[in-house]
Every structure is written in structure tokens, then in C-alpha cells.
Subunit: 206 residues, 2 copies
DNA sequence: AACAGCTTGTGAAAACATTCACAAAATAAA
DNA sequence: TTTATTTTGTGAATGTTTTCACAAGCTGTT
């Protein structure tokens, strides 16, 4: 398969969101142009993005909302549910844990770990925060697909090394640090400081 | 000035981080290659990024850590402090509020707003959560530079319209929705669902 | 002073991503 | 059935970003 760029994948995610809104609104057909307007891009971009995966539209008509919805879910691997573990039961971890959108889209948090003895044992929903020492074995046993890292920067690389060794191949990192992972592991960073600094740059340059 | 790409700005942010680490480690000189290794990029990329803003290095030697640190801070507008308001006092808002890195880098949260009467009036550090109705006036009065949006998706566009009308020109959005803002306003999105979906895609495509 | 060893700064080349532009396919109306 | 209208899918053109490659400049050594 041809190499798909990260920006294409990001946009697919957005298209999916608009399709869900359109679907909720009872719309059953949508054009590349409508999709584009909502995502701040162009209709050509939408069509090009989709064209990497097939021809989903009807000329003269546009796309069937439910069908395109299903197709993009398939493309992104969202027709199945993923087992997620959360490492770090601090403020950010806790906010992520109760973030409804995750569950809604098939990302199920199945385990939470922390090193802090005052946190271990706490009940989070129907889970119990477990000791960090149990993590490595638990990741394998539970067949965890993805790990969300929400620990302090100093601890993050150590956690990730263990997570990778335990066979996990996708990591979402919230710690403000650039992690090293083998190229076989997918890594995304949510780096709030970088975003704020980008805004700062934008403010002084116009 | 020539147009600087968003990726360049992002990388400058990362370089800044490494320089701070290097500085803490007592290093006083660093090469583009060392900077590159840590950021997962190439030395040519580092030099090109910096070259948009000037010549900060010494051939044969590299860059002076404290000087490059200062220069990048200047470029990113971090030598001053920014006044930030937080809209949304839920889980995510609360996690962001106590995120030490922000204050550390000159982003000072000066006001918190929410619509929920059970939250309004609560003491957060030395601030009090204020009613959403006070926001528009307060943003102007306090001379807020940036707003962090941490409200539910349904409420986000409404908040942003008011924030823009109040003269704020930089917005960091955590709501899972594509916001519309005038082109004069800088907007960054932190979209955790998009990131997770990107990981999902990566998992099923290798 | 000349040389060896590094590392920067930068045009030019290559790779990658977006936009253009239009033939092809679908529908609806006459 | 023909025509008008719409919108897709896609090569080709354009624009942007990254990488290459090397002269120029700095330091330390002989």
C-alpha cells in the first residue's frame, strides 16, 4: 500500500467527526465541498485523501453519509475496540480517564497504574489504580493495545521503555519530553507547551 | 519577514526544551547534530530552522547554549509573560490549571470561568472561578492575551466567538471540534481523539 | 604560519503535499 | 432520448518542506 501521510490521517479523523454530526442531523448525502468547508480545507483535498483508499462517492451526487462513515471507521481501524492502559493517575490522567469521547469511540481504558502509594488502590469507575510494579505483566496479560503516558517528564522514558518491552505498539504521550521508541512503535505526542509557544510566536509576529 | 512554517515553530519549541536541559546539565556549547538527535530530526533541519532568524552558531564549534536559549526565547516571544484565561473549570480545565510547566514558561493563568453554578465561586489557587457572564468584560479589563478553551464541544464555538469579539487573538482549544475564527486570530487545537485515531490507524497498517 | 579537524550557513536538488482543471459518471428535467 | 447540471476521481502543475553537499570560518596543533 502507498504511504499515507500523517496529515491525511488527521483529516480523515476530522471528516469522520463531521460525518457523525451530519448523520446525527439526519443528512444522508454529503459532498466533498461540504466536508471541506467544515474542516477548513478544499474539496480537492477531501477527494484526494479519500482516493488513497478507494472510490466512495457517486459523481453528481456526493457521498452517502452512512457509507462513508463506515468506510472511514474501517480505514482508521475504529470498527473494533482497543484496549488502552493509562499510566499516571495524577490530574491529567484523571481528566483523561473521565473523558467520555474516548469510550465513545472504542478506546476503552482497562487499567490504570501509578507509583504513588496514596493513589494505588483507589477506585476509578470500575477499575482500581494499580501499582506501577504490576504494569509490565498486566500489559501482556490483558492484551493492552495502546498506552497513554501521563507521568512527569522525568519518569516518561523509563515507563515507555518498559511498555515497549511488554509488546505494546502504540503510545500516546502527554509528558513534555521527546520519547525514544523503536520505529516499529507508533508514538503521538500531545504537547501543550509546544502549542502555547506556537501561539506566543503567532502573537508577536503579526 | 519570510513566512515561517508551523513545523519550524514546533521544532524551535523542542530545541528550546533541549537547550534548557543542556543548560541545567552545565553544558555550554551544543552542535546542530546533538540538538537534532534529541529531537529526532537532522542537523541540516536544525540549521535551516535557525537560519530563518539569523546566524547564531560558530563554525567549527556549534552554538553557545545560553545564547541560543535566549535567542529562541526571544524568537518565540517567551521573554515576556503572557496573560492567559481558562474557560471551563471541569476535569481538563482543572488539570491544566495545575500544570506547572505553563507558569514555568511564562504563561500565567489570570482568570477562570465556568457556567456551572456549583463551580463558580470555588477557590483555585489564588483565583476564584468566575461566572461565564463576567468573561467578556473581564478579558478586556485584564488585558488577557490568550484563552484556553476547555468546555464541551457544543459550547466551544459560542465561547470562542465571544472571546474573539473581546479582542483576544490567540486561542488554545481542547474541545473536540473544529472552531471557526477570523484569520487574524491564532488557533491551536489539542485533539486527543484525533491522536488516538492516528494510533489506531498505525496499528492496523503495519 | 600553515595545516588538520570540526561544524556552520546556505543554495540547489529531491521529496512530499496541495491545488488545479477537466473528462467521466450520475441525476433530473424537458 | 437528449440536454443541463452537478460532483467525483485523478493526472499534471504548483507550492512547500526536507535533505544534500560543500565552501567558508573557527579552533587547536605542529
Amino acid at each position: 500500500m502507498k504511504k499515507i501521510s500523517e496529515s491525511t490521517v488527521r483529516r480523515l479523523s476530522l471528516y469522520l467527526r463531521f460525518l457523525q454530526e451530519a448523520s446525527d442531523g439526519g443528512l444522508d448525502t454529503i459532498s466533498s465541498d461540504e466536508l471541506a468547508q467544515r474542516g477548513g480545507t478544499t474539496s480537492a483535498q477531501v477527494r484526494k485523501d479519500l482516493s488513497f483508499f478507494g472510490s466512495f462517492g457517486k459523481r453528481g451526487l456526493g457521498y452517502s453519509v452512512p457509507e462513508l462513515l463506515r468506510q472511514i471507521q474501517e480505514i482508521l481501524g475504529l470498527s473494533r475496540s482497543w484496549k488502552v492502559a493509562l499510566v499516571g493517575a495524577g490530574k491529567i490522567g484523571s481528566a483523561l480517564f473521565s473523558y467520555r469521547d474516548f469510550q465513545l469511540r472504542g478506546f476503552h481504558i482497562r487499567a490504570v497504574f501509578d507509583t504513588d502509594p496514596t493513589k494505588v488502590g483507589a477506585a476509578w469507575g470500575d477499575l482500581t489504580v494499580r501499582d506501577d510494579g504490576e504494569m509490565d505483566a498486566a500489559l501482556r496479560e490483558q492484551g493492552i493495545d495502546m498506552v497513554i503516558v501521563a507521568v512527569p517528564a522525568e519518569a516518561a522514558q523509563g515507563v515507555v521503555d518498559r511498555v515497549v518491552k511488554a509488546g505494546v505498539r502504540a503510545i500516546l504521550n502527554f509528558a513534555p519530553i521527546r520519547l525514544r521508541v523503536p520505529s516499529s512503535v507508533a508514538l503521538r505526542n500531545v504537547d501543550m507547551t509546544v502549542e502555547l509557544e506556537g501561539l506566543s510566536f503567532a502573537l508577536i509576529n503579526r
